[in-house]
């Protein structure tokens, strides 16, 4: 399984994670900062979450596998 964590302080609101995995990530209405919708996403979403973590410009997403 996968455990996702986000760092709001690091987040720069780029929105790449929302474009890649809207089931898992959103952005707050009032400042564009990341909101984690699903800390333990289903397997079908793992690839998208991995990609979101890899391309986040602020390095604000961690996806720990087999956690």
């Amino acid at each position: 399984m996968m455990k996702v964590t986000v760092d709001e302080a690091k987040c720069c609101g780029a929105g790449q994670c929302v474009l890649l995995a809207p089931e898992v990530f959103d952005q707050r209405e009032d400042d564009g900062i990341v909101v984690l919708l699903e800390a333990e996403p289903a397997e079908g979403l793992h690839a998208a979450v991995r990609e979101a973590a890899a391309v986040c410009p602020a390095g604000a997403i961690e996806a720990a596998e087999n956690a």
């Binding site: 929105g15 474009l19 391309v55 410009p57 602020a58």
Partner: protein, 404 residues
């Protein structure tokens, strides 16, 4: 590179419009921290490796304070041009002040808000393509589509009337071109732009509507901790300049790269679901992305084993970093399905491009509409005949002749 060797002039020219200069690979390999001379004659330090560029862009010790007395001036105009200007210093560049500004603006550029603009963008793109087709072959994809589309979109976002779009194009060109305009022209453009935006902000204060500036003004009034008039002005000017020339040029370059080897275009026609990754790969593969990002170092720091003294001006070449073979498999190949693609076209860290969702959405929409409306699109000249626009902070092609 030893001190006695010749210092490279920067930007490094490239013989072919879409290809990187040979020096990039040599620098990454043998001289990742290189001394260069800028158009002003001042010296700076050039970084070309992915890890170095990424680290420096995200490191708060490397600031945007290019107006420091000992910072290298980028251009030969007396004040060093855009990066060194007073306006650049109005928006807080670090720490809490920057984060406050960033979050205030950031909410208007979320992925969802940009996705909501898709239908309007597609409509603009269709109209512009129809007009180009009506005028007949060959068309110039730069002038007919690439340039107008992002100006229309950013002007709409900021509530700038359509009639003033051409003036914005001129001002943004004058502020972003390092060599084309003399100091008097640049100063005049900056003054006119400043005057226009002052009046625009005042008009929005008097009569707010639903654009970004009006929203920012309403918020400032409501919470008493929004942006000052000067910050609003600098924000509006910054967003216009940043939102125009960058994406405008990227549209022409993206389509040129996809048509330069037409099997790329055909692959997208066969599978339009590749549009998203194709856009990312175009951003990574763009060898003509422009000047790069300058940073001013406030304390002694080490990069790739080289000690950089306090006061060093560093130029981060994201385009060179995006070709780093240590990070991207087959970096010299354009792979339309590359994933993940952690390119640095939008920078990295707390200052990475605030408009990146907007840019991505515009590029995706333009590509989708072009594939749908003009599947027979091809370059109307051999790729060797494409020419770069010289002297821009943001790289581009002077013309993109196409037929269909």
């Amino acid at each position: 590179m030893s001190q006695s060797e010749q210092v490279l002039s920067y930007p490094i020219p490239s013989r072919e419009a879409l290809e990187p200069p040979a020096e990039w690979a040599e620098l990454r390999q043998g001289c990742p921290v290189a001394r260069v001379t800028l158009p002003s004659g001042d010296e700076a330090t050039l970084l070309t490796r992915y890890d170095d560029v990424k680290q420096v862009l995200a490191d708060p010790r490397f600031t945007r304070r290019l107006n420091a007395p000992d910072a290298a001036r980028v251009s030969d105009s007396e004040d060093g041009g855009l990066f060194n200007s007073e306006m650049a210093a109005i928006i807080p560049d670090s720490g809490e002040g920057h984060q406050r500004w960033r979050r205030l603006i950031g909410k208007y550029f979320t992925a969802k808000r940009m996705a909501a603009l898709r239908p309007a963008m597609a409509e603009i793109a269709e109209q512009l393509i129809d007009d180009m087709v009506k005028r007949g072959r060959p068309g110039d994809l730069r002038a007919d589509l690439g340039f107008p589309l992002p100006v229309y979109v950013i002007c709409d976002l900021l509530g700038v009337p359509a009639a003033d779009r051409d003036r914005f194009s001129y001002w943004s060109d004058a502020l972003l071109n390092l060599t084309k305009f003399g100091k008097a022209e640049v100063d005049a453009a900056r003054a006119e732009f400043f005057q226009y935006m002052s009046e625009h902000v005042a008009a929005k204060r008097a009569e707010p509507s639903d654009d970004l500036l009006s929203e920012l003004i309403k918020e400032s009034a409501a919470e008493g901790e929004g942006l000052t008039d000067l910050e609003l002005l600098a924000t509006g000017m910054g967003l216009l300049v940043a939102g125009h020339e960058t994406t405008a040029n990227m549209i022409g370059k993206m389509v040129s790269m996809l048509l330069a080897d037409r099997t790329r275009w055909e692959r997208l026609l066969a599978d339009p679901s590749l549009v998203r990754t194709a856009v990312e790969e175009s951003l990574r593969f763009d060898a003509n992305s422009g000047f790069g990002l300058p940073r001013y170092l406030t304390e002694e720091t080490e990069v790739s084993g080289t000690v950089l003294p306090r006061g060093t001006t560093v130029i981060c070449s994201m385009a060179a970093a995006n070709r780093d073979e240590d990070v991207f498999d087959g970096a010299v190949d354009m792979d339309l399905s590359r994933s993940p693609n952690p390119h640095l076209a939008f920078g990295s860290g707390a200052h990475s491009c605030i408009g990146q969702s907007l840019a991505r959405t515009e590029l995706q929409v333009v590509l989708e509409v072009l594939l749908r409306k003009l599947p027979s699109l091809e370059l109307a000249v051999p790729v060797e005949e494409l020419n770069r626009v010289e002297g821009l902070v943001v790289g581009g092609l002077s013309e993109v002749p196409v037929r269909w």
